[in-house]
C-alpha cells in the first residue's frame, strides 16, 4: 500500500479527522509499529521523537490533490510574540470517494484494527504520544524487544522538554496498554 493510501485509511480509521500534525505523525508511527510494516513512511529519530518526512509530504500532497482539508486553529500569542497554531486534517468528499475502494482492501482492516488499539489505549494527546514515541523509538534502537515501564520513565526523564510527571505516566500507560512495554 502506498503512503497516500495508508494516510487516507489512517485518517478514516481515526474517525475522518486528526487534530494536529504532530498527533498525525505519532499516531502513524504507532500504527505502523503495531502492524510491523512501515508502508514506506521511513521514520527517523528527531528531537521530538520519530518523524517521517514522507508523512509530512504525503499529507500536503493529499491536501493539494483535494482529498484532505486542512484547517488551523489559533491558541493565542506567546510572550515572545509568536502565535501557537494547530493544523487539523479531515477527509473531503473526494477523499471519501477514494475510501470506498480502500475500505474493501485487507490492508484497511489491518490499519483500522491497529488504529482502534491506539485509540482504545487512552487516546493520548500529542505531547503524551511524543513522549511515548521517543522513548520507545530510542530504546528499540538500543536493544529492541519489550522494555519495562521503569526503563521508559528513566528514558523520558532525560528529555530536555517541559513535560509534567502526569504526562510521562500517561505515556507509559499508553505503551503498556498497546503492548509495546512490559509492566513493572
Amino acid at each position: 500500500m502506498k503512503p497516500t493510501d495508508f494516510l487516507l485509511c489512517l485518517i478514516d480509521a481515526s474517525g475522518g479527522k486528526v487534530p494536529g500534525r504532530t498527533l498525525l505523525q505519532k499516531r502513524a508511527f504507532f500504527v505502523t509499529e503495531l502492524i510491523g510494516e512501515d508502508f514506506g513512511l521511513k521514520f527517523d529519530a528527531h528531537y521530538y521523537g520519530p518523524y517521517s518526512a514522507t508523512v509530512e509530504g504525503t499529507t500536503t500532497q493529499l491536501k493539494n490533490l483535494g482529498f484532505l482539508q486542512e484547517s488551523s486553529t489559533g491558541f493565542g500569542i506567546l510572550s515572545d510574540g509568536f502565535e501557537v497554531r494547530r493544523y487539523d486534517y479531515s477527509l473531503t468528499n473526494d477523499g471519501e470517494q477514494l475510501l470506498k475502494r480502500l475500505r474493501t482492501t485487507a490492508e484497511y482492516g489491518t490499519i483500522k484494527a491497529a488504529t482502534d488499539r491506539v485509540l482504545a489505549a487512552g487516546d493520548p494527546n500529542y505531547v503524551e504520544l511524543s513522549i511515548a514515541a521517543k522513548a520507545y523509538f530510542l530504546l528499540k534502537k538500543k536493544g529492541g524487544g519489550s522494555m519495562s515501564v521503569a526503563e521508559l520513565i528513566k528514558q523520558a526523564e532525560k528529555y530536555n522538554w517541559s513535560i509534567s510527571p502526569e504526562s510521562v505516566d500517561r505515556a507509559v500507560d499508553f505503551l503498556s496498554s498497546v503492548g509495546l512495554a512490559a509492566g513493572g
Partner: protein, 448 residues
C-alpha cells in the same frame, strides 16, 4: 607547524587544506571528479553551469571545515568530518544523479542490503572509500571505516553526521551557492557566515544533535528559501527536466534495445571490486563519446539530439486541476507509474512518433521545508522546532507542493504561434481522453 596550502575558489575565496588532505586531492580517484559535471547537461540551459563534482567537493570540504572548527571539540573528529566531506561524492558516475534510476534498476538487489535504493551512489562511495588502493596508501583501515560510518550516520554523535549529511549540511551549504554562481541565478544566495555562526551542538538524551540558535532563525529561513527557489528555477527547470529525461531514456534504450554490453555493465553494480575498477574509468565525456560511436543505435540517436540541442518538447502538461474526477486524479498523481508505458505507446501511435521517443514524466515540487522543519531552535530557556518557530514558513510552506504530469516528444511545431497553440490543444484533448480511459477502463468520464 601545520603545512597549509591554498586553493582559490570563486565561491568561498581561499580554500585551505593540509598536506595529508592534498595527498587525497591529488589522487586519480579525486581528480576524476573534474570530469563529472555537477549538474549533468544543465549547461544546455545555463551556459555557465559547467562546474564539476571536483569544485563542489572542495567547496563542501571548506564549509565542513568551518563548521567543524566552530562546533567540534576533538581534533580527531574535526579531521574526520573534513575528510568525509571531501570524499562524499567519489561514488558518482557519468551524469551523476540523472543516471541513478538506471543504476538502481540494473544493480544487484544484494548490494542494497536493506538500504534505500535511491542512495546507490552513497553505497558505491562507501565501497570505494573502504577498498580503493590509492586511499589505502594515505588513510588507515580505521580512518576509512570511520569516514564511512560518519557518512552513513553510524559513527559518533549525530551532529557529526549532520554536518556532512543532514538538513543543513555542508553539501547543501556549498552547492546552493556554487550552482547559483555558475548558473548565474541569484536565488541560491544566503548568509552562509551567519548560518555557520549560529549553528550549535545541542544535547539530546544520550546524543548530541545539530541545532540553531534563535538568533540564526532568519539565516535558516533564507537557506531553506534558497533551496526552494533553486529547485524551481534550476534543478526543475522545464528544459532541464527534458534533457534529464532524454539522458535517462537514451541509456535505457542503449541497454534494453541496442544491447550494448559495456553500457549494461556500467550500470549494473554487483558489489564487486571489478565493477568499481571499471566504473572509475568512466566520466560524462567518455560516455558521450563512446555512445556517439555506436552507429545506428538508439542511444546514439538521442545523444546526437542532446549534443546538437535538438531537444524534445513538452506536448502535454497537466496538474491536479485538470482532473475533476478524484479517482483519475489519484491515478495520475498518487498511483503507480505502470500506466506510463501504455500511454506513451498510445500517444506514439496516434500522433506518429517512435514510441521510444515519447516520455511520460511525473514531476513534483516538494514543500520548501522537509527535514529542516525538525531542526531544534535554541532559546535561552526552551527548545522549539524550526517548523513551529518560523513565522514565514508557518504561512507559506504548506501551499507550495505542486505536482505536474508531462509528456515529451520530438515535435517540430510548424507555422505561427496560433497554429502551435492549436496543435498543443489537439495533443492535450487526445491525451486527456487516453488517461481517462486508462484510469477508468470500464467507464467514460467527462473531461475537465
Amino acid at each position: 607547524m601545520q603545512d597549509y596550502l591554498e586553493i582559490r575558489d570563486p565561491v568561498h575565496g581561499f580554500i585551505y587544506r593540509e598536506s595529508h588532505e592534498r595527498d587525497l586531492i591529488d589522487t586519480k580517484l579525486f581528480q576524476r571528479l573534474r570530469s563529472l559535471h555537477q549538474l549533468a547537461l544543465a549547461y544546455l540551459v545555463y551556459p555557465g553551469a559547467t562546474h564539476t563534482r571536483f569544485d563542489h567537493s572542495l567547496g563542501a570540504f571548506h564549509v565542513a571545515g568551518g563548521l567543524a572548527k566552530a562546533l567540534v571539540q576533538s581534533d580527531a573528529e574535526k579531521r574526520l568530518v573534513r575528510l568525509a566531506t571531501l570524499l562524499h561524492d567519489v561514488g558518482h558516475g557519468p551524469f551523476s544523479h540523472v543516471a541513478e534510476p538506471i543504476l538502481q534498476k540494473h544493480s544487484s538487489k544484494i548490494v542494497f542490503a536493506g538500504k534505500a535504493e535511491s542512495k546507490i551512489h552513497e553505497l558505491i562511495s562507501a565501497k570505494i572509500i573502504l577498498e580503493n588502493t590509492e586511499l589505502r596508501e594515505f588513510l588507515s583501515d580505521r580512518d576509512r571505516q570511520n569516514i564511512v560510518g560518519l557518512l552513513d550516520g553510524s559513527f559518533g554523535h549525530s551532529y557529526l553526521h549532520e554536518i556532512v549529511s543532514g538538513p543543513i549540511d555542508a553539501d547543501k551549504q556549498d552547492y546552493l551557492l556554487r550552482d547559483s554562481y555558475f548558473t548565474g541565478v541569484k536565488y541560491g544566495i544566503y548568509d552562509q557566515e551567519r548560518l555557520k555562526n549560529t549553528l550549535r551542538v545541542h544535547e539530546d538524551n544520550d546524543d548530541m544533535v545539530l541545532a540553531i540558535s534563535i538568533d540564526g532563525l532568519h539565516a535558516l529561513e533564507q537557506f531553506v528559501l534558497a533551496k526552494y527557489y533553486m529547485t524551481t528555477q534550476v534543478y526543475r527547470h522545464r528544459i532541464r527536466l527534458i534533457t534529464d529525461q532524454m539522458i535517462e531514456r537514451a541509456i535505457f534504450l542503449g541497454i534494453e534495445q541496442d544491447n550494448i554490453g559495456w553500457l549494461r555493465a556500467l550500470y549494473s553494480y554487483d558489489g564487486t571490486n571489478d565493477f568499481i575498477q571499471e566504473y572509475l574509468q568512466w566520466n560524462d565525456e567518455r560516455l558521450m563519446n563512446e555512445v556517439l560511436h555506436q552507429k545506428g543505435s538508439r542511444v546514439k540517436d538521442l545523444f546526437d539530439r542532446l549534443r546538437e540541442r535538438r531537444l524534445f518538447k513538452c506536448i502535454f502538461e497537466v496538474d491536479q486541476n485538470d482532473f475533476p474526477d478524484p479517482s483519475t486524479r489519484n491515478f495520475v498523481f498518487a498511483g503507480s507509474k505502470d500506466f506510463y508505458k501504455p500511454l506513451e505507446e498510445q500517444v506514439a501511435k496516434q500522433f506518429g512518433f517512435d514510441p521510444n521517443h515519447v516520455i511520460a514524466y511525473g514531476v513534483t515540487f516538494n514543500s520548501a521545508i522537509k527535514t529542516e522543519s525538525q531542526v531544534p531552535v535554541l532559546h535561552k530557556t526552551k527548545t522549539t522546532l524550526f517548523d513551529d518557530e518560523s513565522a514565514l514558513f508557518k504561512s507559506v510552506d504548506q501551499q507550495i507542493r505542486e505536482q505536474h504530469f508531462h509528456i515529451y516528444a520530438p515535435v517540430e511545431y510548424k507555422g505561427d504561434e496560433k497554429q502551435k497553440k492549436k496543435k498543443y490543444r489537439e495533443y492535450k484533448e487526445a491525451i486527456l481522453n487516453m488517461i481517462q480511459t486508462l484510469a477508468n477502463p470500464k467507464q467514460e468520464l467527462p473531461l475537465a
